[in-house]
Amino acid sequence: MNIDAVTFYVAAALALVSAIVVVAQRNPIYSAFALIVTLCSLSAIYGILGASFVAILQVVVYAGAIMVLFLFVLMLLNVRPEERFAGESLRFKLLGVGLAGLLAAQVAYVLWRFAPSGVAAVFDASSRPVARILFSPQYLYVFEATSILILAALVGSVALARKDA
């Protein structure tokens, strides 16, 4: 096994285990930390696949920025570990199993339908090609519209948070 394969399996195992911890853990703080681990291991997998730019964005945006906000809220509100939910547990469990089955079926269908044929198409996902696609006429307007949307959301949240407004 070469070093890429070893790194991939380690990162993939870490991503899976921590993703399970996110769901299974009753303490929301631990869940948040496990989610950070998941995001970082996914970023490692992107890095191995040669998409270093995407890998870094994953860490900067999700692990670095969004999760900090999650943690802030959890810590400031002092959220307690979840209590076990009493009553109607069987109905919820059946619903959960049904939804999980549906998801598994979808994943299986996609894997079967679009099975990778040998080597995946080589796409250089470093910063320059990604930028060329993002700012090509095809995506430029969508990209700019998204930016304006985010800016509007930002201004809106500040306006809502102002006490004297």
Binding site: I56, G64, V68, F72, M75, L76, S126, S127
Partner: protein, 343 residues
């Protein structure tokens, strides 16, 4: 392949040891320099001129009792210093310490090392600057975790303050780099440094003076140094997020802060002062120039600490968001227009 791995491992080993040496040296130099600036003597009893003081400190910290406070979240409390030091060391991986140097033919090295050119940088990533940005955003977690896990209101306040501060100033820090990236046309540290070849007026310090000012202020805040050391404002918060830490865990947090300062200094030397490029066109480029510039930055940080009083917290936040970020954006816009106009 294995040779490449061996060389990388060698570089990692050398750099780690070098960093630890700079760290312990800096604790001593900082105390002596501060004492000099304040008309005191500073630590001068251990060894000649007190030179063995860092070793004595290390031994002392090593033999102290490790205390985990009652009611603390034990695992997160233990993990926080580890994460602090890991993110601090990882971020040094992309910082170049020099150009390519060639191993001499001494005849004592293993065969594959003899006369082999080696890049003085662990990972020459094509997105090096972004990588650094990502890791500095991850390093916030160590402080949040340390502050929260100790189950103490002072540490929690210190942790929250610190993360809010690092968060706000990170933005200005990142924006101050983008003008340089636009001019150099690359995220790669090596390309940015080579762009500043020649006389010293080719340095980005003179092409991006506003960005340099923003970088200097935001970098000081990012490294939690005075006048931005609010997280550990001892008059109000005991010692901030590391109040409850003792022994080697305390030492690790301290080490992480110093490594941060060294990283910020190294980045400043590379991005604004031409890294290992010599300031005079006819003198050879050499890692020594880089060391000199690094030392200049480190001295500057100590000098600041000996000179300036601490900010008030609301002033700090106001300054970050209402002055630094707009300045950085203005600089970015002007730079972008100039770059497009010159094309």
């Amino acid at each position: 392949m294995q040779q490449e791995l061996a060389i990388t491992a060698l570089k990692v080993g050398v750099l780690l040891n070098l960093l630890l040496m700079i760290f312990s040296g800096m604790t001593f130099i900082e105390r002596r320099l501060l004492a000099f600036m304040q008309f005191r003597l500073g630590p001068n009893r251990t060894g000649p001129f007190g030179l063995l003081q860092p070793i004595a400190d290390g031994i002392k910290l090593f033999f102290k009792e490790e205390v985990v406070p009652e009611g603390a979240n034990k695992w997160i409390f233990i993990a926080a210093p580890a994460i602090a030091i890991i993110t601090a060391f990882l971020s040094v991986a992309v910082v170049p310490w020099g150009g390519t140097v060639t191993f001499p033919h001494w005849g004592i090295l293993p065969d594959f090392l003899e006369g082999r050119p080696v890049l003085l940088q662990i990972a020459d990533l094509d997105i090096g600057v972004l990588y650094l940005f990502a890791l500095s955003s991850l390093s916030v977690y160590a402080i949040v975790m340390a502050g929260w896990a100790a189950n103490n209101k002072y540490t929690l306040l210190g942790g929250l303050r610190s993360s809010a501060q690092m968060f706000s100033y990170e933005l200005a820090l990142g924006l101050s780099w983008i003008g340089i990236i636009l001019l150099a046309g690359s995220f790669r540290f090596g390309d940015i440094v080579r762009y500043q070849d020649g006389w010293f007026w080719h340095w980005f310090l003179f092409k991006q003076p506003l960005a340099f000012l923003v970088f200097l202020v935001a970098g000081t805040a990012e490294a939690n140094r005075t006048p931005f050391d609010l997280p550990e404002a001892e008059t109000e918060l005991v010692a901030g997020f590391h109040t409850e830490y003792s022994s080697m865990r305390f030492a690790l947090l301290q080490m992480a802060e110093y490594v941060h300062m060294i990283t910020i200094s190294a980045v400043g030397a590379n991005l604004f002062f031409g890294g290992w490029m010599s300031p005079v066109a006819f003198l050879p480029d050499s890692p020594l120039w880089f060391i000199l510039k690094l030392a200049g930055f480190l001295f500057f940080f100590v000098w600041l600490r000996g000179t300036l009083p601490r900010f008030r917290y609301d002033q700090l936040m106001d300054f970050g968001w209402k002055v630094l970020v707009p300045l950085a954006v203005l600089n970015l816009m002007v730079t972008a227009v100039v770059v497009v106009a010159l094309q």
